[in-house]
């Protein structure tokens, strides 16, 4: 329990206006984009690394749980303060410290919103590729701590490929600088990789240096509609095996077709199952040639293929894709959203077997995902007020995850484990690897104050 004395101490560190404690405000920091919720006892908004250090030193001395949070948009339960205590929110550390075009790098504070960062880079003709679909609200600290992906990662890779340096505050309050400003750096262990994707369990990221790319000058969006999943899956495999690497290949099933009404003919939508959204980017000449090649591949099995005429039309297709998650969520009380990744030549098999599972447990299922890199978000629609239905939904999801793993895939492509997937961890990860992770945790955070209760299920003696 946090006492009044604790709150006074926190206020001494950050200033009165940067500590919240009313029960109403605690409700507003009890959730993220999952169905998990738990109220913290205080929310603290540090404004620099020194303040984070002060908060952690105090929390460590007094064994108070600290859950880091940025935009609170994650879909794994990572920012839920499941043990109460303090939510350390970085949204007031939102300065873009530097954008250096000559070095192709940028330095940001953890509370910068990804969308704002992208906009600032675009003005300079620069580009940071990871584009999780929560870009409008997610913050850079979370992007790194969750090692975020997104559609563009097919061609450009995930966040870890762009982290050059980090400043991290450790559980005992020490501030450590890792990595540097250069793309090549072979000095000792790659320690900043330890914190990239650590889900806030090893330290709190207070500054981030990122590698950037020059912004591409042209892109084209190709829309292909398919009569069945197998044809779409085979087309993806054919594209990947071809000579063009698109920047994005996204998959949506007919649950989301309403969002495409008015953009594509009803006659085609009514009798189809899958839409692939494909983007190629680069120089105008290469984009034109690559578009032709993709069209050729799609034409053999797609019912309808078209190229967006202009950026405005393309934007409408991508908005329809982005809306998938909220669209499905708003149709039912509870959704169970998964994040498996499968090898790309097993996509059609994965969808077929998962659909059989859904039929077996009699639950509705929708598929969307970054199919170009094999990363899928199967969503089972349920209602957790109906216990029996919800149990069937969970069993179905268990089976889908087992399917993905048996096909050579992984438990989480980009969302992380958090609370949402920890019950599968033992099945999906080598026990020795889990043991190493726990040892690292014990070394860096011996009192388990940082984001406790995440990633692995606690055994009774923990």
């Amino acid at each position: 329990m946090i006492t009044k004395k604790d709150v006074d101490q926190l206020r001494n560190i950050t200033g009165k206006e940067n500590v919240l404690t009313t029960v109403e405000e605690m409700v507003a920091y009890s959730y993220d984009a999952t169905n998990w919720s738990h109220m913290p006892e205080a929310v603290v908004f540090p404004t620099d690394a020194e303040q984070i250090s002060g908060i952690l030193r105090y929390a460590n001395d007094n064994e108070i749980p600290v859950t880091p949070r940025g935009g609170g948009t994650n879909v794994s339960g990572g920012s839920i303060p499941i043990k109460g205590g303090i939510v350390l929110c970085t949204t007031r550390m939102n300065k873009i410290v530097d954008i250096n075009k000559n070095n192709l790098n940028a330095m940001v504070e953890p509370g910068v919103v990804l969308q704002d960062f992208q906009a600032a880079l675009a003005k300079e003709g620069l580009f940071f590729p990871p584009d999780p679909q929560s870009f409008a609200g997610c913050t850079m600290g979370g992007v790194v701590a969750e090692n975020s992906g997104g559609p563009s990662c097919l061609k450009y890779g995930v966040t870890k490929q762009y982290v050059l340096g980090l400043e991290v505050v450790l559980a005992d309050g020490r501030i450590v600088k890792l990595g540097g400003l250069t793309p090549k750096n072979r000095t000792g262990y790659e320690l900043m990789m330890l914190f990239t994707g650590s889900e806030g369990t090893l330290g709190i990221i207070s500054k981030i240096t990122l590698r950037l790319l020059p912004k591409t000058t042209a892109n084209k969006t190709i829309v292909a509609v398919f009569g069945d999943v197998a044809e779409a899956g085979e087309t993806v495999s054919a594209i990947i095996a071809g000579s063009v690497l698109p920047s994005k290949v996204e998959f949506v099933d007919n649950w989301t077709f309403d969002k495409f009404r008015g953009l594509l003919p009803d006659k085609i939508l009514d009798n189809s199952q899958v839409i692939l959204l494909i983007q190629v980017d680069g120089l105008p000449e290469t984009v034109a040639a690559e578009t032709e090649e993709i069209l050729e591949v799609c034409k053999s099995s797609a019912r309808d293929v078209r190229v967006a005429e202009d950026p405005a039309e393309a934007e409408k297709y991508w908005q329809a894709r982005t809306a998938h998650f909220s669209d499905i969520s708003s149709r039912t009380h509870t959704i169970v959203n998964e994040d498996v990744s499968v090898p790309r030549d097993r996509i059609a098999d994965f969808i077929r077997i998962s659909q059989e599972s859904a039929k077996k447990y009699d639950v509705p299922i929708s598929f969307a995902g970054h199919v170009g890199d094999g990363n899928f978000h199967p969503v089972v629609l349920s209602d957790n007020r109906d216990k029996e239905h919800f149990e069937r939904a969970l069993k179905c999801v268990d089976e889908i995850i087992e399917t993905a793993i048996s096909l050579g895939g992984v438990l989480s492509g980009e969302h992380g484990i958090g609370l949402e997937k920890q019950r599968f961890l033992k099945k999906a990860m080598d026990p020795v690897a889990i043991d190493i992770m726990k040892q690292i945790k014990g070394l860096l955070d011996p009192k388990h104050i940082l984001n406790p209760g995440k990633i692995w299920e606690e055994s009774p003696n923990e």
Partner: protein, 427 residues
């Protein structure tokens, strides 16, 4: 706790609560969140707080009311929500349940329940207060919107326009016929709103003049009162709101169209049926009433379909650069986006410049700007930055509430722009 009894209004909008998937997109659009960066200010946070209220985890404390009041009801979150969650409805309903159970505090109970519904008395009160205006606060040209706001803004340094020496109702007759030689093509009722009546009567005169010149007979019913926006939307007092709605419905019973020059009044009156209709009879009455309401620009462009030659810019504005602020209530509530721009772009005597984010909330939001004046100013600063970037001479809009906010913001920053109602541009 039996929540179904306790939260009668919120329960009506429970579906909207459940639609929210907590994706957090609203964070990037909410003007309040953009300033505060605190979850309780954004739609997602407010919806979860109201959900906690229904689940018995929270109660209707003053803190809860404060959080619910900290929303401009600008609708930007709704417009961009992938699940189309209706935050303003939930917030308004929660405000109503708060009033139902906890009542209204002084001076709001006096102003909303007693003074605002009595138009003439309200006018006297405004007049009396106006005598002291110069003593307490900086003056600018123009007037005030609601008495409550006026009183509360005292001492906060807000630049409030002067109360007009004569109210609109004293300046124009109840029935205004087209001049001789102009054929009467239709008859409309003119809902003047408190602001045009007490603060901007010249705008009202111009509108009547413009309409009659173009063959429209304009009735200004004396029985009309305040639209009720500050009462039922701002404060959540549905009972008083209903009385005000009923007297407006009575006053405009005999006209086919009700013309407004205030987007807030228009959208509030269109919302009578959503919030205040408690019987089948009222649903019918309020629906009929709402169907008659037309914003002035909407009426001119869609109904009268006037030729460009009908719009004669007053000589003093010839050659000026003009930009347009789109009120939330006009664009997002009434869906009137193109009509005012169509008029402005058609005027050969001015240069029209679209400002960046013309539809971004100005931060006025009636009672909001009184309760959270500092926050309201910060939101206004973004708007005045937009205006500044256009280098325009004049900002026009279609809501006297926004006008007050823009005047305050522009004066604070010592910017040169004149703030006008769009209809002020014409002869």
């Amino acid at each position: 706790m039996n929540s179904s009894v306790k939260f009668e209004q919120i329960n009506r909008f429970e579906d909207d609560l459940d639609k929210c998937t907590k994706c957090g997109f609203c964070m990037s659009y909410c003007p309040v969140y953009q300033e505060e960066k605190v979850e309780s200010s954004v739609a997602r946070g407010k919806l979860m707080m109201v959900r906690a209220l229904l689940d018995g985890k929270l109660t209707l404390t003053d803190e809860m009311a404060e959080q619910l009041n900290k929303c401009t009801l600008c609708m930007t979150c709704v417009q961009n929500c992938p699940a189309s969650t209706q935050l303003p409805a939930v917030v308004t309903a929660a405000r109503a349940d708060k009033v139902k159970h906890k009542g209204l505090r002084f001076p709001y109970n006096f102003i909303y329940r007693w003074l605002l519904p009595r138009r003439r008395l309200f006018g006297y009160a405004v007049r009396i207060v106006s005598w002291f205006q110069g003593i307490f606060m900086p003056k600018t040209q123009g007037t005030i919107r609601h008495l409550s706001m006026f009183l509360s803004a005292l001492g906060k340094g807000r630049h409030i326009p002067q109360i007009a020496p004569k109210f609109l109702r004293q300046l124009i007759p109840e029935v205004n016929k087209p001049p001789e030689g102009v054929k009467t093509t239709c008859t409309v009722g003119y809902f003047t709103g408190c602001m045009t009546d007490f603060v901007f009567p010249e705008t009202g005169k111009k509108i009547v003049n413009f309409l009659t010149k173009n063959g429209v007979e304009v009735i200004v019913p004396r029985g009309q009162g305040c639209c009720g926006a500050p009462v039922f939307l701002g404060a959540g007092d549905f009972d008083t709101g209903r009385k005000m709605a009923d007297s407006n419905v009575r006053a405009f019973r005999d006209v086919d169209y009700i013309i407004t020059d205030c987007a807030t009044c228009a959208s509030a009156m269109k919302d009578y049926v959503k919030y205040l209709a408690d019987t089948p009879e009222k649903i019918r009455e309020y629906t009929e009433y709402s169907e008659k309401i037309k914003d002035i620009t909407e009426f001119l462009v869609d109904n009268l379909n006037l030729p460009p030659s009908a719009y004669k810019v007053a000589e003093e504005f010839n050659g000026k650069k003009v930009t347009w602020h789109e009120p939330c209530h006009l664009g997002r509530y009434l869906g009137v986006k193109e009509q005012p721009r169509k008029i402005l772009k058609s005027l050969p005597d001015i240069e029209y410049i679209e400002m960046p984010d013309a539809d971004r909330c100005c931060g006025m939001a009636g009672t909001f700007s009184v309760n959270f004046y500092d926050l309201s100013q910060k939101i206004a600063d973004k708007k005045t930055d937009s205006i500044d970037s256009t280098r325009a001479d004049i900002v026009v809009t279609d809501c006297p509430g926004c006008q007050i906010q823009l005047i305050d913001g522009i004066t604070r920053k010592q910017m040169p722009q004149k703030v006008l109602h769009i209809m002020d541009l014409f002869e």
